[in-house]
């Protein structure tokens, strides 16, 4: 899935902008279609709750506290999230 820039809501920020412990909700992923499909099957689908556990390389996130995913910084910066207030 490649979401166009137009689909991105203005408040969505790259996942890498979340600070440690901060929670967000996935808006979309802008990457190679195979990477998008894989991330989505792993649970990083639109509207999924995501918490930042470790920033940097790799970036480690927790999905609703159920599982942890490690992401290379490059791909993490292509996942866009709404930061929960």
């Amino acid at each position: 899935m490649i979401n166009s820039e137009a689909q991105l809501e203005s408040k969505a920020v790259p996942l890498t902008q979340l600070s440690r412990g901060q929670i967000g909700r996935i808006e979309c992923t802008q990457a190679h279609p195979d990477d998008c499909s894989m991330l989505r099957a792993m649970g990083l689908h639109p509207d999924a709750s995501i918490q930042m556990c470790r920033l940097g390389e790799p970036c480690i996130v927790s999905l609703s506290g159920a599982c942890r995913i490690g992401l290379a910084k490059d791909i993490a910066s292509r996942v866009f999230v709404h930061i929960d207030s």
Binding site: D35, M38, A41, G70
Partner: protein, 663 residues
């Protein structure tokens, strides 16, 4: 008049496919059900392996019937629709177009879908995809004990109602709920429910079901311990230090613990050889059994403890959840050299054998990434190299296990560095481009499952023994024949020594002369044998590396398979052994060449170590490289490049040691 129907007398075998996401405890569950009855099989023409077990589920469920079931543990997948070899194999198995080797390809009679109670929402997506296959299904909600500890409660009746098939809550680790699994699988039925076919629809469907069947009475607390461990194990410096420390510790344990059973095996083969030599009348049959079969197979089987320990400790390490973190440490290391962490699994598999490693590169999405990994994979030290490493490090550092462990780790490191250099070079020349970024699930840290590790070790050990009992046995017999024929007549020198011995009064001195005469005849016979002549022809090529005729034969024979080097040396030195009661390893270590000097000097041992780390001595690997890369040009490039590096490495090691005054 119609013929009455004859009841089916032959018991039918039900095929049950076990599916689920990765890291849901599927294999632990399978091992608990199947135990030692399971074996590992490959899917023909693919990288993928499955564990297969023929078991009587009725017996398991105490019903007393005797219908056998074939349980197939398929690779863990996140979705059936991903463009990955795991997903393709699962799809083909469900369609009945493929099956693990030895099993008939047929549509499974039932599906056992294992889901993780602590991550039910995501796991229900694959359930939705599998329900669409319209096959009798049972849902096994595993890790229910962990879910309960986290305050998550799953209602099995509501879940069964939502999914339209039987549901069982269990814990593969503790065994909770498993007693009812056999009966439940007999009651598997086709669900009357259907999940939406589109991805978004399935995700909403899974969320709705989770909200209906599950309650959580605790707020999810931050997992501070996991956070701290993750930060340490993936830290640029600390992570790398941990990785090096863990791997060194692993190999040190392999050397320390394997020494005792290795001595037993060595002693046993030595005793059997002596017993056969003393029992059978002298002649070709006795020589064949002692010098061909026992020396050849014994020289290989002796490494069984090391191979078992390596797989056992790696399985334990994988069970802790650490290896997924190590993949990111490796990703950081690989990226500047033009590979990504996607290459970690193929490269790690290549440490067992380059063939499954190269085949596993199918999971790498980018073509250039994939080709680079294929070319690099054979540099990783496979288990076939272990016997050679063990032999040479034992010769270099006798009775010093820590130094042996350092040298062993260094062999692995040199292979990895050569691979990185290869990737760096190729990604900037013939395979230009940037590698794809990595995404990987990090399983929870936990105590490893001892039973699963032991079963895997048993499986791998049996595969190794089968190889020693078939291919290595056959090669040993052929090599013995080439080494023993044509027979050479005693030389004038040995005849003169024997005549002199006959006229002597002092028996001790006479025996010494006879021993000298025997040694001269044996060296003469070996040099004039077919194998000796072959070695003499090629020896000039390897002379700059310090190899004599016998080592040249050992290296040439290794093109069939690397581990054949040890058995080849054992067969060659068996006849020229001056000390009858020596063990197989000591015979090789103390072997002498035609002029009576030792074959394995300090310089030749280091030279050989470099050669075996870097050389592409495996014909099947080249065939698989040609097949997977789409042409023989890549296989030939691999062979040429690795041979060049091996020759340069071995030459440099030998010449530097000699120039520094070494022997």
């Amino acid at each position: 008049m119609s013929t009455p129907t004859v009841p089916q007398l032959v018991p039918t075998k039900r095929t049950i496919a076990v599916l689920g996401n990765p890291n849901v405890g599927k294999t632990t569950l399978f091992n608990r059900i199947a135990g030692i009855r399971a074996k590992t099989s490959n899917f023909p023409g693919t990288t993928q392996e499955a564990r297969v077990a023929h078991i009587n589920l009725d017996k398991e469920s105490q019903k007393g019937a005797h219908n056998e079931s074939v349980l197939i543990d398929l690779p863990g997948i996140y979705s059936l629709h991903l463009d990955l070899s795991e997903s393709k194999v699962c799809n083909q198995t469900l369609e009945g177009t493929t099956a693990p080797t030895g099993e008939p390809a047929q549509v499974p009679d039932a599906l056992m879908v294992v889901v993780d109670a602590t991550n039910l929402t995501r796991n229900l997506s694959i359930v939705g995809e599998l329900l669409a296959k319209r096959l009798p299904t049972v849902i096994v909600v595993n890790m229910i004990d962990v879910a309960r500890r986290r305050g998550i409660h799953v209602d099995p009746d509501k879940l069964s109602d939502c999914l339209g098939c039987p549901v069982i809550l269990c814990s593969a680790r503790t065994g909770e709920g498993l007693h009812a699994l056999g009966a439940m699988l007999n009651d598997a039925k086709i669900s009357h429910r259907t999940a939406p076919s589109d991805q978004t629809g399935i995700e909403r469907w899974a969320q709705d079901i989770y909200a209906t069947v599950s309650t959580s009475n605790a707020e999810l607390a931050a997992d501070t311990l996991t956070d701290r461990l993750d930060r340490a194990f993936t830290h640029p410096l600390l992570g790398m230090l941990s990785f090096v420390a863990i791997m060194t510790g692993l190999f040190w344990m392999i050397f320390k613990l394997a020494a005792i059973p290795m001595d037993w095996i060595d002693f046993w083969f030595g005793s059997v050889g002596n017993w056969v030599a003393g029992t059978l009348p002298e002649g070709a049959i006795s020589d064949l059994i002692v010098d061909g079969v026992i020396a050849g197979v014994g020289g290989t089987v002796i490494f069984l403890p090391q191979i078992c320990l390596l797989f056992f400790l790696l399985a334990l390490l994988e069970g802790t959840g650490y290896l997924a973190r190590a993949a990111f440490v490796i990703d950081r290391l690989l990226r500047p050299f033009g590979m990504s962490g996607h290459a970690f699994v193929p490269l790690l598999s290549s440490h067992a054998c380059a063939i499954p490693g190269i085949m596993a590169t199918r999971a790498i999405p980018d073509k250039r990434d994939r080709l680079a990994t294929i070319l690099v994979a054979p540099f990783m030290s496979c288990t076939a190299r272990i016997p050679v490493y063990v032999l040479l490090t034992a010769i270099l550092f006798p009775d010093r296990p820590l130094y042996q462990a350092y040298a062993f780790t260094m062999c692995y490191a040199i292979g990895i560095l050569a691979g990185l250099f290869t990737s760096f070079l190729f990604r900037r020349t013939i395979l230009r481009g940037k590698s794809r970024p990595m995404a990987l699930e990090l399983p929870s840290y936990r105590m490893p499952d001892l039973k699963s590790a032991l079963l895997l070790t048993f499986d791998r050990g049996m595969i190794f023994l089968k190889k020693a009992g078939t291919m290595i046995l056959a090669i040993s017999i052929v090599l013995w024949w080439l080494n023993a024929y044509p027979h050479s007549a005693p030389t004038d020198e040995s005849i003169a020594l024997r005549t002199q011995a006959e006229s002597m009064v002092d028996i001790e001195q006479a025996n010494e002369l006879v021993a000298q005469a025997d040694a001269i005849d044996t060296r003469n016979a070996t040099a004039n044998s077919m194998l000796g002549k072959l070695g003499s022809t090629f020896q000039p090529i390897f002379a700059p590396l310090g190899y004599d005729r016998q080592l040249t034969v050992g290296v040439l024979a290794s093109f069939a398979a690397r581990e054949v080097f040890v058995s080849t040396m054992a067969v060659q030195v068996a006849g020229s052994d001056d000390v009858d009661d020596e063990s197989v390893l000591a015979s090789i270590a103390n072997a002498t060449n035609d002029d009576g000097s030792r074959i394995f000097t300090y310089a030749t041992s280091w030279s050989l170590l470099f050669f075996y780390v870097l050389a592409s001595l495996c014909l099947p690997t080249l065939v698989v490289t040609a097949k997977e890369s789409g042409g023989w040009k890549w296989a030939m490039l691999q062979l040429g490049w690795m041979s060049l590096l091996a020759y340069i490495g071995a030459f440099a090691a030998y010449q530097i040691i000699i120039a520094a005054g070494g022997t």
